[in-house]
């Protein structure tokens, strides 16, 4: 994984230092947990406890119906479906396009390769507002505005960050197997499919997970390109919910929690996948 041969340095505190470190950890953790606690507690409160004085830290009888009521106040099921659709297509698009591009940069030589690699990386610096206005103009001429196309199609044309990530992973695997397969008569796509992809699953999973998180949480894109409420994504729906005149904080917290569950779940599953992935590549080389 890292370039250093020796063991990295990890502190192993003892005695009062250990106690102090635990105290700091617990204090900081409380600060980080407080908003999440307040989100859950408020999501379960009946309306009269939300602004109650003296404050109600935890609802006397948790009102689980809030979740049902919040999620039916707006068509959140529809929003979830829209978001899933965009996320699913974006993942497929990124996996196909970024794999091809990254493999080319990792394994093939060609005149101009260095130039194009620098060009690819420099697009990471371009602020989105520079292209968002002209893209809106182009998409509206194409009749794509108010459809999912502006949020899906670009994913099929690769993304600099994920290309870079996959290229690093491809470069780390020795080319011997691929060359052997090629001598046996496999063409480049067969080599890619049968040899390279199976040993690169951790990196591919990373790209899929990052893409899922990014599309699930995207806000500016849907805000600009989706106009009808029936086309809204979850974040857009939540923001619309928040800006309605009669803000119901219990409902707002309940829906915030629910729409975050998938990314939280993926995070916990992925944590394991990442560790396994690192161990896997480590043992194979």
């Amino acid at each position: 994984m890292n370039q250093v041969d020796s063991e990295p340095m990890i502190v192993q505190p003892r005695g009062w230092r250990k106690g102090l470190r635990y105290a700091l950890l617990i204090f900081t953790a409380l600060l980080f947990i407080a908003p999440a606690f307040w989100m859950l507690s408020s999501a379960l409160k009946p309306n009269y406890e939300i602004f109650a004085i003296p404050p109600v830290w935890w609802p006397s009888s948790p009102r689980w119906e809030n979740f049902r009521d919040a999620l039916t106040a707006l068509p959140f099921g529809r929003f979830a479906l829209n978001t899933l659709l965009i996320a699913g297509f974006s993942i497929v698009g990124h996996l196909i396009s970024c794999t091809l591009v990254a493999y080319a940069f990792a394994r093939f030589d060609a005149p101009g390769k260095g130039f194009f690699f620098v060009l690819l990386l420099s697009t990471l610096m371009l602020p989105y507002p520079v292209t968002m206005v002209p893209l809106y103009i182009i998409y509206s001429r194409l009749g794509w505005v108010n459809s999912f196309l502006p949020l899906i199609v670009p994913a099929f044309f690769a993304n600099a960050f994920y290309v870079f990530l996959l290229r690093q992973s491809f470069k780390q695997t020795p080319p011997d197997l691929e060359e052997a397969a090629r001598i046996d008569g496999a063409n480049t796509l067969q080599v890619l499919w049968h040899i390279v992809l199976p040993i690169s699953t951790p990196a591919l999973a990373t790209v899929a997970i990052f893409t899922f998180q990014a599309t699930w949480n995207d806000f500016l894109g849907p805000l600009i390109f989706l106009h009808d409420q029936s086309k809204y994504t979850l974040t857009l729906g939540l923001s619309f919910f928040r800006s309605s005149y009669d803000v119901n904080w219990a409902y707002l917290m309940a829906s915030s929690l629910v729409i975050s569950l998938p990314v939280i779940l993926v995070f916990f599953l992925a944590q394991k996948a990442f560790i396994q992935g690192v161990g896997y590549t480590g043992s194979k080389i």
């Binding site: 994984m1 192993q12 900081t28 520079v130 893209l135 670009p154 928040r242």
Partner: protein, 310 residues
């Protein structure tokens, strides 16, 4: 190996059929990105540059106005306000994020029971979408029902109006950003893993205490990570949008009118596509200059292991 070989054969690339086939395959494989670059990046950039010299409301054809949009910007009080807001926010947010992320990373970089739990707690808020993040803090900072003011009232303090107070709104946004320190924590943790332990052993033998080890070993060897974090942080913070749009919608009294929010309004609320494009290019120029300054400053403070110290 491959790179050296390719350089040697560079002159004969087009003469060898194998090399030529390889080059064709290369361009075939990168064609998705190349096409995407033309259609989704370069094309729009040129269109944006062109429209920044025009008056364009999308309904009628663009009218060439030369540098008018740019000179308008420099006479536009709201543009200066948005620049000021964005600059103050970046100036506070970026150092706090670096410091906070480093602190958290050092705290959890220990071999102790339960440390993985703490790492998860610190990282988890960053998986929330920007909208959820902001909505949660809108409620935390609500003057009446928010946890912060309720907690303050328990010790007899009447809390301020936070995001609804024009003097406090921007600083409230800075304050709540601590909940996202987990992102830079993870990058710092990865940076800490690359510091060889034997350097600490050597320092300890030389009689360096904990603080000296931190100043003489950890900090210098983390400068590449700090540099990486700093560049990314500046680029992204200057483009802050969601928190301003969802939390305050630029208010109260334009006290949180971020530059990208102003560009969004000009483009999609007032349909001033030309003016919005000009503002976007000014933003791009600022980001470029800031990045360049940070990159140039590298040689004064970034230390790479294996290079001679300067």
């Amino acid at each position: 190996m491959r790179d050296v070989k390719s350089r040697i054969h560079h002159s004969s690339i087009m003469r060898s059929p194998r090399k030529r086939r390889e080059a064709i395959t290369f361009y075939l494989f990168i064609s998705p990105w190349l096409l995407g670059f033309l259609f989704f990046t370069l094309g729009p950039m040129l269109l944006s540059l062109y429209s920044s010299f025009t008056d364009w409301d999308l309904l009628t054809s663009p009218v060439w106005v030369g540098l008018q949009n740019y000179s308008d910007a420099f006479a536009d009080a709201l543009f200066y306000q948005s620049l000021k807001v964005t600059a103050i926010y970046t100036l506070l947010y970026v150092p706090l994020d670096l410091l906070g992320g480093l602190m958290l990373a050092l705290l959890v970089n220990a071999r102790m029971r339960g440390v993985r739990f703490f790492r998860t707690v610190f990282y988890l808020p960053t998986v929330f979408s920007g909208v959820v993040f902001v909505v949660v803090w809108l409620w935390m900072l609500n003057p009446r029902g928010g946890l912060i003011n309720l907690a303050l009232s328990q010790i007899g303090i009447e809390g301020p109006r936070w995001l609804m107070d024009p003097d406090l709104a921007l600083y409230s946004l800075v304050m709540m950003s601590f909940w996202g320190w987990g992102r830079s924590m993870v990058i710092f943790l990865a940076g800490l893993q690359t510091i060889p332990g034997e350097l600490y052993e050597a320092a300890a033998i030389d009689g360096a205490n904990g603080w000296q080890q931190f100043y003489k070993v950890t900090l210098p060897l983390l400068t590449p990570t700090i540099f990486f974090n700093l560049v990314l942080s500046v680029i992204f913070t200057f483009q802050t949008f969601t928190s301003a749009f969802v939390a305050t919608d630029g208010g109260p009294l334009d006290s949180t009118l971020f530059l990208v929010l102003y560009i969004y309004r000009q483009a999609f609320q007032f349909l001033n596509m030309g003016y919005a494009s000009a503002l976007a290019w000014i933003l791009f120029a600022i980001i470029l200059v800031l990045t360049l300054i940070v990159v140039r400053s590298q040689r004064f403070w970034v230390f790479y292991l294996g290079e001679k110290a300067q």
